[in-house]
Symmetry: C2
Amino acid sequence: MGDSVKYLLGEDRIPKAWYNLVADLPEPPPPPLHPGTGKPIGPDDLAPIFPMAVIAQEVSTERWIEIPDPVRETYRLWRPSPLIRARRLEQALDTPAKIFFKYEGVSPAGSHKPNTAVAQAFYNKQEGVKRLSTETGAGQWGSSLAFAGALFGLEVEVYMVKVSYQQKPYRRALMETYGARCIPSPSPLTASGRAILEKFPDSTGSLGIAISEAVEVAAQRDDTKYALGSVLNHVLLHQTVIGEEAMLQMADADAEPDVVIGCAGGGSNFAGLAFPYLREKLAGRSRARVVAVEPASCPTMTQGRYAYDFGDTGHLTPLVKMHTLGSSFVPPGFHAGGLRYHGMAPLVSHVLHLGLIEAKAYAQTECFAAAVQLARAEGIVPAPESSHAVKAAVDEALRCKREGKSETILFNLSGHGHFDMQAYTDYFSGNLKDVPFDRAALERALAELPVVA
Amino acid sequence: MGDSVKYLLGEDRIPKAWYNLVADLPEPPPPPLHPGTGKPIGPDDLAPIFPMAVIAQEVSTERWIEIPDPVRETYRLWRPSPLIRARRLEQALDTPAKIFFKYEGVSPAGSHKPNTAVAQAFYNKQEGVKRLSTETGAGQWGSSLAFAGALFGLEVEVYMVKVSYQQKPYRRALMETYGARCIPSPSPLTASGRAILEKFPDSTGSLGIAISEAVEVAAQRDDTKYALGSVLNHVLLHQTVIGEEAMLQMADADAEPDVVIGCAGGGSNFAGLAFPYLREKLAGRSRARVVAVEPASCPTMTQGRYAYDFGDTGHLTPLVKMHTLGSSFVPPGFHAGGLRYHGMAPLVSHVLHLGLIEAKAYAQTECFAAAVQLARAEGIVPAPESSHAVKAAVDEALRCKREGKSETILFNLSGHGHFDMQAYTDYFSGNLKDVPFDRAALERALAELPVVA
């Protein structure tokens, strides 16, 4: 038997500030542009849908941004999250590598998402907002915001992609348990929803439509703001508690990572672990390779173009420079719904463009195989999204075995799969197929990218 | 905003020994009897289905039983579990009471069950057993044993009540992820299963039938033993890590409980928290009232008789003296499947008989209401079973409010409800009804109790 080790931290060591990588970048990230004017957007453009404190963070170049006390207090419900030395997995792989993972599944909603949901709920509450609107696909984000809303006394309205609303009743039940209102999208409650329903009465929805509905509701009601669960700078910022804690715990374990790994859909859990390590790397204090992992069927970073594009399919958002498959690219259905996004966080795209990180893509069945290996060794059943990071870590460990190297691997296990067990059933029954990447569809979508002067 | 507090312990403070209440009882519990001879059973009677180390613990009168190193090492995957001061819940209830709960949902399988599953897997492995058979109703126990089997390299065969097998695919997927074989019961694989299927081809199964199948398989195969998830002394013993840790954490919090609460189906999570406190109470070092909570529709302790009865409906087990509704009593279907048992652990029954503990019964809708209150305050969604303990704690806190007392309440939150969200959906949709207790059925079942000289 191996003896996996859990590194805990006292609550007094929850970070007191979020880390803003923008302060340390060798060149600043390209600004978001107004889709009408083509000029950089300012705070006023965002004010109808976000609270001022969040907008200030979105554009901040300060290195450290203090975590407000009530947010830190709330983090204490589950933070610091454990860092685990996965010795049982190492033994199962018979590798000389040391494998560590940071486990974010201990949060009440079961993933890293509450790190930002709680912060966003706090700032909105502070500015007198009564209600938050948002969209959710697989449901991880919607349930996290529902949880945060319950704690801070905010109503939460979640537009849930209709097919997920029907297929993921457990996630919906979780949102309702936290007191949120969950609405299948497209809905008759918004103009955007009604427009779709008129044309396509049987539409099963898309994240793009759900975003449009949630943004519309926030823009129209004075007491309502919009909250986003990934992609934007302030979201990535809030997630850096993951990496800051991990550094303290790695020091407790007397270990230094050679490889730092996270899965990336919108990019927030990856950035949360990776950005503090990029700071160390830029300062010459870390030798770690930093690897972002994406699904082979939605390969934004490995197959997409680094270009200005819309964040949504409805073209309501500003233009942001990012790795994108084109906003009209529709990824095939697969089980890691949280990674099913046509773009990537602009900051993650920027550091990839600068060569500070690497990107890798894996097919879903090989990721589930790695997830099952982890579950049988360490007991934790990963979310389908997180299984991509597990697969990359296993691959690095097997490389170490081939090369006879005892490198130290650190990955982010961003959430558990308790609400996604149907995916495991499909995997075991052989009903889970890898979807080949549709290159022709990519070419068509890239041809439609907006032209930016 | 309140500020709930998490009391963690270092892994070095995981208890080194389990506590055996039998050593401190004012009178010994009545022995189990052989159903044929009516005489106390001995180790030889149990040897075909349990390993010797487990049998020794079942009959031990030693106060402390050392936890083997590999079991303690495995506990480190999730133990020590947190103790939480639920200040947000206190504020929501506006009570002067202090509410603490021990949270066992952090285990990989999501409940307290792995505390004993890991120990049983270890002892079986040590004695050369290759395969464990067991039954499961709702699936908490089956998935915990599947997890333990994966860690110790044992095959696990779970006979799952057919109706649960069909209605709880997520629990089944979890067992399969851990590598266990999950068989709907009644099955054609055993004589007991075939006998039922011949008479009732459409049988949806029962825990009684599933026990018969699992025991039969263990008795017939040399390389296979049987594992039970509650009721027996050794199971309760393994759960005392909960109470031992809680005491250290309550000391860290500078708090002493006035009331200690656990839900009780078979009795093991209740005993795990309560028995160490009973030791302190018997020694005059604690003033705590100790309360076991059961469902009003299966009220073993509050409506049953303290008498010798069979542990299963098939009458394969020894006769044990316990609070029972009669082994032929069929509890109505309700959502806390883990509390749907006609009897109660003999040791729990004994201390209730001795007046050392109190028993209370609650209907399921009031328990769900309390569970939702906890979820919205503390973020954790309780398992339907655990919601009974939440309800009792809320009730005590409201009594303190009425009486103007700032008592300290400690309850065991034995598991999360991630795999039981359908129950919450039913609760919110109003489809969850309280089933009135069937007193006539109780009278009929009690009339059939075995006659013991």
